[in-house]
Structure formats: structure tokens, C-alpha cells
Symmetry: C2
Subunit: 353 residues, 2 copies
């Protein structure tokens, strides 16, 4: 399947699919799927697609999932193979993962499997939590609930990444009073009001947090600022966007309290984009077998992925994909062909009889 894996990865990176523009790539994937699935086993929902087996209740069910979209970005070598690498926007994140899914579908189209399989190709992963294309699939199509273990083929360098940090954003809003900057005593400087808060925030540091034997690191950062005013105006509004990454085992509500403690009543707080943490499902028996059979490295996921969304729906999930994590969202992104082949072989051996 080596040449197929290369061919599919190249084809996929050659189809632009920046978030919000997934129609063309979804059409391409769908036209591929119809060769291997009956019509009634393919669900197209907007630009997301589910392809599923008729569930044999004597078998466990594995889901393989991948998002079709990419962030915006530049690549000078799209579709080129250089030094054992395939270049293209999304090569690592995560079109090589999609290529593995396609190759597995083709490979098992005339072979026996140990598991029922569900393949999910979905849109809009690279944007806000609320617009994510996996959400309506989970909400509307019960077939996904049959899953005993899901693999998101996000770039992990063929390591198994379990759990994931929750993430939330909060707008910390300091309000002052506008005045001419030559007479600040007639107003109140909203930027100056924030200094004690910013100091506490900067001192939050990195908190190690162990959960089911895996180490996660909680961090809280100011990522954006905004203000209302002008060159010669005492600003009457200063807004700090805080991003908080919190460990599995902590609820959204507990995480909110952590932020409120740092703010200490000195400003208004508006929470946005509340993404729960993902369960560390090392107790999942299928996962245990998977890890042991192939001697895979297991590590904590120090970022948010849709594993958390699956968690919320009661589905155990891990990240395991061929992409190079450090290539994600980089200019001239690439993926190593060797990793794609390794990833495919592991899944082939795992799923096969």
C-alpha cells in the first residue's frame, strides 16, 4: 500500500481545504468511499462524512476520525516528495492521517477484521469549539455511540497521546473613565487598573498535575489585549484575553474558579470557548492491548483535541497519527513517508484478524 499512501496524501494536500472551505475535499473523499461502502452505510452531513460497517454485535467497534480542514498557511512545495517527505499544507495536520484511513478502507474492503469500524471525516476542526464539525455528527448520528475506542489521527509522531488538557478563554475586562491624557485625574486608566492582575497572572507559572499516572501541565496566559481610547486619551476599557489550559479531572466550573481567583474581583470576566478536558482512558482494555501489542510510547496530550469532545459523549478516545506534531501549522509543512507507512501497518495489524 506504500504507493497508495503516498498517492492519497499527495492528492489530499493538493486539494485546498482551509477551514470553512471543505466542500471540494469532502466530495473527493465521498467519491472514494462509494467504491467500498453501500450507499446506506455512508452519511454525508454538510461537509462531513461517516462511513460505517453494519455493526456485528459480537465484535468491538473502533472509530478512526480525522478532520478535513487545515489552518490557512503557505507551502512552496505542495504535493512534492523531497528526501522521503511529502510537502503540503495539512501534510502532518492531518491529511496523512486521512490517507491512512482511506488506505485502511481500501485494504479491508476484501479482508476480514477483528472489529467493526467507523470512519469519520469531518469539517471545521481548526476553529472555535462551538463551530466544530464533529459536534453535529455526535449529536445526530447514534451509530458513533457504538464506538468502544476512537483514534483521532492527529499528528503525534506515531505515539499514543492520552487525555487532553481542557482549554477555556476568558475576557478580563477592566473599566475606567475616559479623560484627556494631560488630566488623568479626571478619569481612570483602565490599563493601569490591570497591573496587579497581570502580575498574578504572570506568576501563575506551570503547574504539574498528575492524572492516572500521566503528567499534564496547567498554564494560564494573556494571549491578546484590546483597549478603548487613543493616543491622548486615558483608556476607559482594557481587555485581556486569558487562555487557560487545565488538566483532565478538573471540571469547567473548577477551571473557571481558577481564573476568577487570579482576577480577584478586580475586573469583569466573560468566559468564552469552554472546552472540557479529555478523559485519560488508560483503563480501556482495547487501548491496553493496542499499546502493548505494538510497544507504543504513551504520553499525555499537552493541548486540546477532539478527544475531549468524544469524552463528553462518553466515548474513550486517544490521539495516534502519522503526522509530525512539530510540523502542524508551520510554513512548508511536511510529513515523513516512513511514519505514514508505520502508522498504516500498526492499524492494519491491529484491525486485521
Amino acid at each position: 500500500m506504500e504507493s497508495k499512501l503516498i498517492e492519497y496524501t499527495k492528492k489530499l494536500v493538493e486539494i485546498p481545504s482551509v477551514i470553512g472551505n471543505e466542500k471540494q475535499i469532502a466530495d473527493f473523499v465521498e467519491s472514494f468511499l462509494v467504491n467500498f461502502y453501500k450507499k446506506e452505510n455512508i452519511i454525508r452531513h454538510n461537509n462531513s462524512i461517516i462511513a460505517f460497517d453494519n455493526i456485528n454485535p459480537s465484535k468491538k467497534t473502533i472509530a478512526l476520525i480525522g478532520h478535513l480542514d487545515t489552518v490557512p498557511g503557505e507551502n512552496e512545495y505542495t504535493g512534492q516528495v523531497i528526501d522521503g517527505k511529502i510537502f503540503g499544507l495539512g501534510a502532518s495536520d492531518m491529511k496523512s492521517g486521512l490517507a491512512v484511513m482511506m488506505a485502511l478502507i481500501e485494504y479491508f474492503s476484501n479482508r476480514e477484521k477483528r472489529f467493526n469500524t467507523i470512519y469519520i471525516f469531518y469539517e471545521k476542526e481548526e476553529g472555535p469549539y462551538i463551530d466544530n464539525g464533529l459536534e453535529p455528527l455526535l449529536k445526530n448520528f447514534d451509530i458513533i455511540q457504538k464506538t468502544d475506542l476512537a483514534f483521532a489521527l492527529e499528528p503525534t509522531d506515531n505515539r499514543v497521546q492520552v487525555g487532553c488538557l481542557g482549554t477555556m478563554h476568558a475576557s478580563i475586562i477592566f473599566e475606567g473613565k475616559r479623560a484627556h491624557s494631560a488630566r488623568p485625574w479626571q478619569g481612570e486608566n483602565a490599563i493601569h487598573k490591570s497591573v496587579n492582575f497581570l502580575k498574578r497572572l504572570a506568576n501563575f507559572g506551570v503547574k504539574e498535575y498528575e492524572f492516572e499516572g500521566m503528567k499534564f501541565y496547567e498554564v494560564m496566559n494573556a494571549t491578546m489585549v484590546d483597549f478603548s481610547g487613543g493616543r491622548n486619551i486615558i483608556p476607559d476599557k482594557f481587555v485581556v484575553n486569558v487562555n487557560y489550559r487545565f488538566a483532565p479531572g478538573k471540571t469547567i466550573e473548577e477551571a473557571k474558579q481558577d481564573i476568577l481567583k487570579i482576577v480577584d474581583g478586580e475586573a469583569k470576566v466573560e468566559f468564552t470557548d469552554l472546552c472540557p478536558s479529555g478523559r485519560v482512558c488508560l483503563d480501556n482494555v482495547i487501548l491496553k492491548e493496542f499499546v502493548n501489542s505494538f510497544g507504543l510510547t504513551v504520553e499525555a496530550k499537552q493541548a486540546w483535541t477532539d478527544v475531549a469532545r468524544l469524552s463528553l459523549y462518553g466515548i474513550d478516545a486517544v490521539n495516534f497519527g502519522p503526522g509530525n506534531a512539530s510540523q502542524a501549522h508551520q510554513k512548508n509543512e511536511y510529513v515523513e513517508i516512513k511514519n505514514i507507512i508505520d502508522n498504516f501497518n500498526i492499524f492494519r495489524n491491529f484491525l486485521g484478524n
Copy 2:
């Protein structure tokens, strides 16, 4: 002249002249001036105009100056007279001052004066120091150097405002290293780097500074912020715009040092818009007579005006105008007719024999 003062103020506020769009109002003023001055006594430079007497060396020379432009703004009652007030954008800042200048020109067109007079109507006062329309006039037309005392008819509620604070802006640039906000230890948060600086800045407070018996208040404020990054990115750049208002007697260089001391080497500093302070010219004999003759209130100017620019060119200057200072740059700006008449009468009595 009461009806003339009202008429001119109304006409002037009815001509829009937001900074950069002074052609129409300059044309209007020029068409007025040609009725009273010979062609060779009017200088038009872009949208600024100087009208001057042939200098009689046995007389002292007084300059009256006013800017033609306004800030952008809204006014629902443009040109209306309500309760003894004339409404319109620029009514106080400073078209009523321009109306007084026009009325004085008309009044003295067939009367004797104690002084040579120079009238300066200029563009682009409400923007950056460097674009100011008075600067090229001072640079190019030596006639202004004849001035023994200049009055800027800025809104002062008919008080004499002497000296003026210097003002400068500095971009305080904190540089960090970009990283994913789930892994901040791979980067350096430029916003977090600023906290000690911001704390010192907020603690600067208000410094009273006495100069030639007048009290000025030095203040330093963050007025704007900018950053480079995104929601889930550790920002690699955070820029704080600091505005510093410093007392007369302090040089630009000394004021720069005050800012550098607060920054304490923690960030790059780029100085912009360096406006010197204005000399407190209470020793000017003409000013002494002016103040005493009319029993006027004298106060320090707690803001920057073109008085400082005249200072730089060795010309003593004060602010003295009919506008209401608190109306400047306000929505539905107005000026009180009584103040316009009082201002005119004071200048008429002062300039006349």
C-alpha cells in the same frame, strides 16, 4: 460687532474643516481677508494664511493665531443659537476664536492701533506634532519673527493660560517568543514580561511641578496597547504607548530620561511625537500690562498647545480665547456668545489706542 461675531462663528462652524480638509474654510477666510488687506500683505501657504501689517518699527507687534481645523465629531445643532450658545463642531475649539480675529480685522480696518498686528489662520493643529500647519509658516515666513507677544485663541474661558506642558509619546516594546499557548515554556510571553514596568508606570502618579510661580502637573500614562499573536498563541510582541506630559523647564532629553527610568531596560523604547514644553513668559512686559489692565485670571496650561512651538522659535505666547475649554472635542460642542463678546472687547481695548 455683536451680530458680526455671531454671524462669523455660525458661518465658520457651518464649514466642515476636520483636520486635513481645511481648503474650503481657508478659501472662506482668504476671501474675507482680501477686503481688508492688500494682496502683498496676505500669504497663503497650502491651507494656512497669514495677514500682516507693514511693520512700523516704533510699535510693538502682536500676533493672534488660530487653527482652522477641528477633530472629527458629531453635532446635532450645527449653526443653531440656543440659550445664548452657538452650537457646532469647533464652536469652542476654536472657531469662535477665529471669529474674534475676523471681527478685530474688520473693526481695525479703519481705526488706529497701538500695535502692529499679524493674524495667522493655520491648518492641521489637531493631529501629530510633525504635520502641524504652524510649523512651515514659522520656518518659511520671517514676518512672524517680528512678534513681541502672540495670543493663541484656543478655548480658555477668557483666562490667560501661560506656558504649557511638553508632551511625548513612546512605544515601549516588549519582545517574547511565539509558541502554542498550551506549551508556553517553548516561548516567552511578551505581555507577561511587561508587568513590572506597568506597575511602575501606574505608580508614577501626579507630580506637582512649580515653574515661575505656576503649578504644572506631570503625568505619565499608558494610552494604547498592541500585540502580535492570537487566541491560542503566546504573544511575541506587546507594545504599550506611553504618553508623558512634562512641565516647562524640562527639556525633551530630560523627559526621555524620565521614561527610560520607568522602563528600566526591560523593553525597547521608540520615542515618537516629541513636543517641547512652552516657556512661562510671565516676564513679558506686554503680557504683564495685558493681564493687569483687564484683571484677568492667569493659570498654568495643563496640556500641550502651539504656544510651545512658538516658544521654540523664541516667540513669547499665551493662550487666551473665548471658547469653553470643557467643550473641546465634545459631542454637540457649543460656545457661549457672552464669552465671544467679552474676548473681542478685551482685544479691541488692548489693541486700540
